[in-house]
């Protein structure tokens, strides 16, 4: 019995219990309850300013909660989340360090081989001696991704990392992130304003509205997902409609898994 309980506990990788966060008088997140399993890919969508990035930063330990607790691997989070690595919207590479040194910023020198290996996985091993300013936007984000993954994080936090990229590069990056997630089995939380991106990549899409989770939608589509699938468009449309119209739905829109239609 105890063992089973332990197992259940372990399966819950991250759990948020009644988490609230405010900046001054402005309430950003209210009473958030959320459980994320190990290896799950969760996307958080919502209008800008809805608090989705703040939620991510709370889980990263970059901000502290005002109320409630965040439990990671069974421990309450009180400071920087050591299991997590964050990838930021603007990449945040250090312009004065070459690509390889950017990846190694918090890594011991002996791990250079590993750094090069990780760079290889994102397809940029041959650019390791370049300065970040000589890379394109997409390449910078690849380096940022490698920098996060080189630490073998259990949890990868992605804060709109593809927001500034052009459409083609974005799809490229989504596929890369999905492939690496498949390979390595980390838990991932992606904050994005692009619903299509969320449906393409995540097991589960959360919608945050006015500081609360107003939708928690499992995406039951086999991978690799094709954007031309009808079910794909249905998911996207339903979630978008939910965001834009704010119809007072009491239940989830897509209640049952959609029947697969042969195309």
């Amino acid at each position: 019995m105890e063992q089973l309980e332990q197992q259940l506990k372990r399966k819950k990788h991250i759990s948020l219990q009644g988490v609230s966060k405010s900046f001054g008088d402005h309430m950003v997140l209210q009473e958030i309850d959320l459980e994320i399993e190990k290896g799950e890919f969760v996307a958080i969508v919502g209008k800008s300013g809805c608090g989705k990035s703040t939620l991510l930063r709370l889980i990263a330990g970059l901000e502290q909660v005002n109320k409630g607790t965040i439990i990671m691997n069974g421990e309450a989070l009180t400071q920087l989340n050591k299991y997590a690595r964050m990838m930021f919207q603007d990449g945040r590479l250090l312009p004065w360090k070459r690509v390889i040194d950017n990846i190694q910023i918090a890594l011991s020198k002996e791990k250079e081989v590993k750094a090069i290996e990780t760079l290889y996985h994102v397809g940029l091993a041959d650019r390791r001696h370049d300065w970040p300013r000589n890379l394109s936007g997409g390449q910078k984000q690849r380096v940022a991704l490698a920098r996060a993954l080189v630490h073998d994080p259990e949890l990868l936090l992605l804060d709109e990392p593809l927001g500034a990229l052009d459409a083609l590069t974005r799809i490229d990056m989504q596929e890369l992130i999905e492939a690496l997630w498949n390979d390595r089995g980390f838990t991932a939380i992606l904050v994005t304003h692009d619903v299509e991106e969320a449906v393409a990549i995540a097991d589960r899409v959360l919608l945050i509205e006015e500081g609360r989770i107003s939708l928690d939608q499992k995406i039951n589509l086999p991978r690799p997902r094709r954007r031309t699938q009808i079910e794909f468009s249905l998911y996207v449309e339903e979630i978008l409609a939910r965001i834009m119209n704010r119809k007072p739905y009491k239940e989830h829109i897509v209640k049952k898994p959609i029947q697969t239609v042969s195309v």
Binding site: A60, L62, R85, W96, A106, W131
Partner: protein, 254 residues
Amino acid sequence: MMPRIKGSSKQLIPWLIPGLILVGWQFLSWLGFIPQRILPAPLEVLQAAITLLSTGELYEHILVSLGRALAGFLIGGSIGFLLGLFNGISKYSELLLDTSIQMLRNIPHLALIPLVILWFGIDETSKIFLVALGVLFPIYINTYHGIRSVDRDLIEMGRAYGLKGKSLFFTVILPGAMSSILVGVRFSLGVMWLTLIVAETISTHVGIGYMAMNAREFMQMDVIVLSIVLYALFGKLSDIIAKYFEGRLLKWNN
């Protein structure tokens, strides 16, 4: 876009104007348009330089002046750098010190000459003190400003990746402030020579400034002009050194 200029002409073009002025000056002196009493011809200045070099006198003056400049720069520069560092990093240090430093900064340091002479007499200490004082503030301001304006997002990224204390400072904060610090260094090198020139004319028995003042007593126009030329050359030299460091430390930006 400026057109690309080939290597050798890139080296030569900046010296075109100084060269033309020298040739014109020499020519006008030959023709007698510039009287000897007002301004000696370049060749005479060169002659004076060679004479003074052969006796070893010029060498000593230059060495002493360079020593003063360097000592003052190192002392004032380090103090300014450290103060800028502390005030840039620590809010308490800034609250405690910044107001006082800003008040002192606005006193022209050369106005302190009478006081400095009374404090330290007329020997080396007073000159080094003046140079150090002049150099301190530009370095302080730029270091402080540089550290305060390091991208907060990069610092947060560093923290999120587990950097803290020393490693955060050397990986993110110092490199981020470096371009501003080097602007301060470059500016303070100018202040360094200016201060030294004035300080060396006060009262001394060796140094380029002394050489000029001494030559005035004997109406040696060529030596006076020579010392001015030396200051100009040193100014250019320190600029080259500053540029070299900018090229090395900021090569990611070129």
